[in-house]
Amino acid sequence: MQFLAPLFFVALAGLAIPVLLHLTQREKKQIVHFPSLMFVRRIPYESVRRRKIHNWLLLMVRLAALALIIFAFARPLISRADQAPPPGAGAREVVILVDGSYSMGYGDHWQRAVGAARDQINRLNASDRGSVVVFGSSADILLRTTSERDRLTAALTASQPRPSATRFAPALKVAGSILAESSLPRREVVLISDFQRGGWRGDEGAHLPMGVTMTPVAIQNPADRPNVTVTGVSIARSTFSNQERAVVTAGVVNRTERPVSGATMTLEVGGLPIATKPLAVEPGSAATIAFDPFTISAKNLRGTVRLSDDALAADNSFNFVISPSEPLHLTVVDRGGASTLYLSRALSIGDAPRFDVVTREPDAVSDEDLRKSAVVLLNDVEVGVGFARRLNRYVEQGGGLFVATGSHATWPQEVDLLPATIGPPVDRSRGDFGRIGALEYGHPIFEVFRAPRSGDFSAVPVYGYRNLTTAKDAQVLARFDAGTPAVVERKVGGGRVVMWGSTMDVTWSEFPQRPVFLPFVHRAVRHLANYKEPQPWVTVGQVLDPAATSVLRGQRVVLTPGGKRLPIDDEGSDVVELSDQGFYELRGDKNQNVTVVAVNVDPAEADLTPMDPKEIVAAATGSSGEDEGATVSGVPLTPEAKEKNQRLWWYLLCGGIVLLAADTLLSNRLGKT
């Protein structure tokens, strides 16, 4: 029994009015003047009390009449749930969504969720059909639209929580697609989850088809067991005795209401525990544990921070990969002398990455130099045709080339590599000196100067520059105030060429003496070398793109933490989804250049703060969780059936009116007597 207008029950408070009137009647201030109270005085006052008992019947009749009328206005509705489904019209399509995120591993949550799902499966009739979907950040259909309960149960029992985070929207979309294809009259979704707040980001476009009933089954209990989560690690590198060392600091948080004491945290490097520290965290607080430094002895060194066991095991370990930092090899080509002073000084500064600079004259650059170098910098030199062609091949194979054009710079016409042809010098030493403007701040080189007071190029005096004429496919990144390109870039094959229209010393400009010089050089070199800082770890659900690794092309294979081998073809852009917690390995065919990726669970999933399941029900079905009337029925009701379900109000109203009439008769009769 439900009510279409339950707000009318507020009027039940009005039932007190007859009673109050009855009680306050004697308090009337209007005084009756009477000749003498001689006789009245003789009547015992207690008789007043007997009157209440005398009129009880009248009062009850009035109250009952009012109550019936109020109930009638509240529009009682006999819900379909109270009625047996009509024969032949009750076949159901049930989609059971089971939360398989790693937070379900907390305590006995997973066992309870499986038990609840099994109950739902057992309720299926022979004519019903069921589907089982286990979801985390994505949804997997274990078994789709079958009436075989044994298979559904078996598929459910075989599944386990995954290391992924909870996302309700993909699961609801999958359920919606299954139900949309169903022809059965009653369609239902059962959502079994621990309903973490983090799993729902409001309306994510997950709407179930019209007429679908959604039943949330919350697997929640108070966090009676403590749980600590490793939220991340920070790695600080240092050099000691020409050996690179790392200090690992792990952050932990205890989101439960119980303190954690007596726990331990262990740092494993290369699969061996090297340090263990005690851990105590107060409820609702965080802590950090710093381990002693260790030497980064090899490339792709695997590290894990591991907590002792608690209520939720999946968030107790945190993996990372660390390798010795490798310098970027650069070759600076100059004419000798002091012209490279500012450039070499600028490149000698830098930790991430370090720059390993080799200085050569144009004739002395060997193929080995080019093979080793990530970037070649031509600092105002004359380039012959042979050298230009070698550079062209070098760039096409992925190398980076930086060209600074002073008074000596030349480039053979035969080789089309530079982004601009080098024109005659422009002398700006008389009158106004030249300035740099019109910077392309969206470009990686100039991106750091985008913010205000992050470096002012317009204040750099330039007294001379070469008149550059850009190539068709070149991009101008900066111009001088006269409109002449100052910095031009061109992509050639797998590499890039960046050209600077002036010198890298103080003969033609004061640029090397200005603060913007050092970041400009570093950014340009990192951009040309296509340098990216190595990521110590990634999160479950991200993908591994083999093309972005340094593993050589050819037959490659990915080893998952579970030991599976996933071969990757050279053709196409095949990517691997990182779905397990642990270390993934990408190997070439000769086991060379192995890339290791550490994968961790999303620490936000360990936050078990629950949400109200009605919020999801409301968003998915378009009605509040309480109003089953709007979603309970998959079979459209006929107008007669709707009217029949709501007809009760009419009887209540008639009953109320009859009682009022009886009240009138009764009170008249009492009045006469």
Binding site: I31, H33, F34, P35, S36, L37, R42, S47
Partner: protein
Amino acid sequence: MAVETHAIPGARFMDPAVLARIGNLELVARAVVDGFINGLHKAPYFGASVDFAEHRGYVPGDDIRRMDWKLWARTDRYYIKEYEAESNMNFSVLLDASKSMDYGTRGITKFDYARILTACLTNLVHHQRDRVGFVAFDSDVIEHVPPSAKHMETVLHVLDRLKPGRPGNLKAPLHRLAEHFGRRGVLVVISDFYEEPEAVLDALSPLRFRGNDLIVFHVLDKSEIEFGFDDAQPFEDLESGEQMPVVPEAFREEYRSLVKAHVDALTQSFSAVRVDYSMLDTSMPLDHALFRYLNSRARTMKIR
């Protein structure tokens, strides 16, 4: 008996509340009484003559002018014709003007009803050439018009300006007045008698000591008899100002029985001492009271 015609022949049957709206007491009294006297001729229970008394045999010394010659012609005996003595009777109305009389729910207060009744009685008696007097009292005597054949106008004037205002008490004023009525007469007491029957009787008894005929009219409003109130309200005593909460529905039965017992007790007490007692409610037409008076007078004559 002189009979006058009047423009309002049915006035005696009129609702007293209507009569009360006529401000002039004399007009009201004349209208009521004249109509009443007209109707008397048709009343079957009233004697043909009040003048002739009896015949008696002639004894020497009797005035031969009173000899009934017609009877001598028939019987050849001398009979003297005897008439009722021409007694100019003293008639006084003793009106209770206490505050409790100033109450009415039907457009007329008990006091107004009593005033009209007084005026009518006075007028009726004045027609008979009797001497009329008037006394108003509450806890004391507040107006006193001695009986006189010429006091009709005075009585009406006093009645006209009389207003009830103070709490009443029967005993003190009536005991004082009893000493003043030295000559035999008729005394009419009009009151609501809100005292115990014994106290009422005790207060009125001295009025009879000098041979006065005592007629008592007990005037009550309908609501004092029926107690037809609906709402539970505080009631205030008009005289004492005392208040008490009253639930009429609960009180009604008991109240009615108490009033009835009071009236019964008064009836019994007065009849025991041969005082003519009538209970009037203000909705009754005035002729009822006038009949009661005349009946009482006729009965007294017969007894005598």
